[in-house]
């Protein structure tokens, strides 16, 4: 899932300060699961903003909404009536959702209430870890199901750097060295031969904005272009 972290309250309050009626819009998918931007968090944030506005003697009102996914047009459409009644929308969706909301409602200022952090997994209750950089050229079959791009700070592709010590990373001795994990996993599954060929320089396509069309829809969309 996409993991996000709520922005510091002061930053949110400052961004919203210039608007009288602000709609706090949650998203019911990834950011709800990581306890950052779902319906419950949207309600709490709106209440906090309301209290802060009262303490600061600012005339502001905060509405609350939550849609299933802010990255889908059909769900964003559900917000039309509420958006029309507010001066700004404070979105708690990931960066993609915030942008799509802004695109859908071009006349309304859209503010970001979270920092999108990574594509990750739920490690334990309340703990998430990054696992994927969406590089568009997945190496996980070769690297034993452990990603050297997401888990090695240097993105080394041919083994550990010289900073690895006791299986830990030079950037943080609490952090596992990705290449130690890769090596051990391949060793345990009898696949160390995977590591013999040199992985050559990669095509860094992820620097270009991505666009993807499902094969079944290729004709439909190519006709529009």
């Amino acid at each position: 899932m996409i993991v996000a972290q709520r922005k510091p309250f002061a930053e949110i309050a400052e961004a919203a300060a210039g608007y009288r009626r602000v709609l706090v819009a949650g998203c019911g998918t990834c950011v709800a699961v990581c306890l950052t931007g779902g319906e419950k968090e949207a309600g709490i944030l709106a209440a906090q903003l309301d209290i802060a506005a009262q303490l600061g003697e600012r005339e502001q009102a905060f509405g609350v909404a939550c849609v299933e996914r802010q990255c889908d047009r059909e769900f964003l459409d559900e917000l039309a009536a509420q958006v029309a009644e507010h001066d700004a929308v404070l979105s708690l969706a990931c960066g993609a959702g915030i942008q799509f909301l802004a695109e859908r409602y071009p006349d309304t200022p859209v503010l970001a209430g979270v920092n999108t952090t990574f594509i990750g997994i739920n490690n334990d209750v309340g703990v998430w870890g990054e696992r994927c950089r969406s590089c568009r050229d997945c190496l996980l079959s070769v690297t034993g199901g452990v990603c050297p791009i997401a888990l090695c700070p240097k993105g080394m592709l041919n083994g550990p750097c010289g900073g690895a010590e006791d299986g830990k990373c030079e950037t943080d001795r609490e952090r596992d060295c990705a290449w130690t994990l890769i090596y051990q996993r391949l060793e345990n599954t009898g696949r160390l031969a995977n590591l013999e060929p040199i992985i050559t320089a990669r095509n860094h396509q992820a620097s270009l904005p991505g666009r993807q069309v499902h094969p079944a829809y290729e004709r439909r969309y190519s006709a529009h272009e």
């Binding site: 750097c161 040199i198 050559t200 320089a201």
Partner: protein, 257 residues
């Protein structure tokens, strides 16, 4: 032909030293220090933003030492600060500057340095950089023919004390396959780690130089003793000496080895 390559082939035991380019625009003191070391060491390794701390470019420092110090130069180039365009460009520049030996490394991560918020590059890793430099030695880069080859003597770094050993040995084999002609280790803490590494890696097709470093605030006696142990144990073809805090004392230290 690189004098360092000749020395590595001909001599029983080599001595190299590490020098950092200045954190300022004045190259005189570095050139003078390298001049004092020339003839007493087999090569001077010019570092490249060592420890992810910005300093004058190793290209310009390398050129100054080649032209004015009389020392044989090994220039370090990291993957941390350059994408492949910059790497190709700098490899060409190094050749034009008269640098004949390169130490190609991934580079300490930026969070350990003095600009921790900078964008780390690592477009290539050290193995891929060795491949690139080896390709350029044949007069080509990934885009096609170059106007001329850049026949460097290529070196790689080695972390014999890093554990577990398996991944490090695997990486070393790739560096050798990619064209590394010599190895310099990270500063050693003792001999035990190097012995274990040597046993795990087997006989190496290229020569290995053992790094030793006088740590910040330390005195050189222990390092001298470790360097002598390395030599006596026959575990390395030479010693690479670094004293980042007091490089001006390196000539004196070299005299004691």
């Amino acid at each position: 032909m690189s004098k360092f390559k000749e020395a590595l082939a001909a001599k029983d035991f080599l001595l190299t030293v590490e020098l950092d380019p200045p954190r300022g625009p004045e190259l005189g003191p570095l050139t003078e220090l390298a001049g004092q070391l020339a003839g007493r060491v087999d090569a001077v390794v010019v570092s490249d933003n060592r420890g992810a701390r910005a300093r004058l470019s190793p290209l310009l420092a390398g050129q100054a030492l080649v032209k004015h110090s009389g020392a044989e130069v090994i220039m370090t180039l990291t993957c941390r600060d350059r994408n492949r365009l910059a790497l190709i460009s700098d490899l060409l520049a190094a050749a034009a500057a008269g640098v004949e030996n390169l130490l190609l490394v991934s580079g300490d991560f930026v969070s350990l340095g003095d600009q921790p918020g900078t964008k780390p590059v690592y477009d290539l890793d050290s193995v891929q950089l060795l491949q690139l430099a080896a390709q350029m030695a044949q007069g080509r880069d990934p885009a096609g023919e170059l106007a001329g080859p850049t026949p460097f003597f290529l070196g790689a770094s080695l972390a014999p004390e890093a554990r577990p050993l398996g991944p490090q040995v695997m990486k070393l084999k790739k560096k050798l396959a990619a064209g590394a002609g010599f190895l310099i280790t990270k500063p050693l803490r003792g001999l035990a780690g190097l012995k274990e590494f040597a046993a795990a890696a087997g006989e190496l097709p290229v020569k290995l130089i053992a790094g030793v470093e006088v740590a910040a605030g330390a005195e050189p006696a222990e390092v001298l003793s470790l360097a002598r142990e390395v030599k006596a144990a026959g575990l390395a073809a030479g010693v690479h000496l670094a004293w980042p805090e007091q490089p001006q004392r390196l000539p004196d230290l070299v005299g004691q080895l």
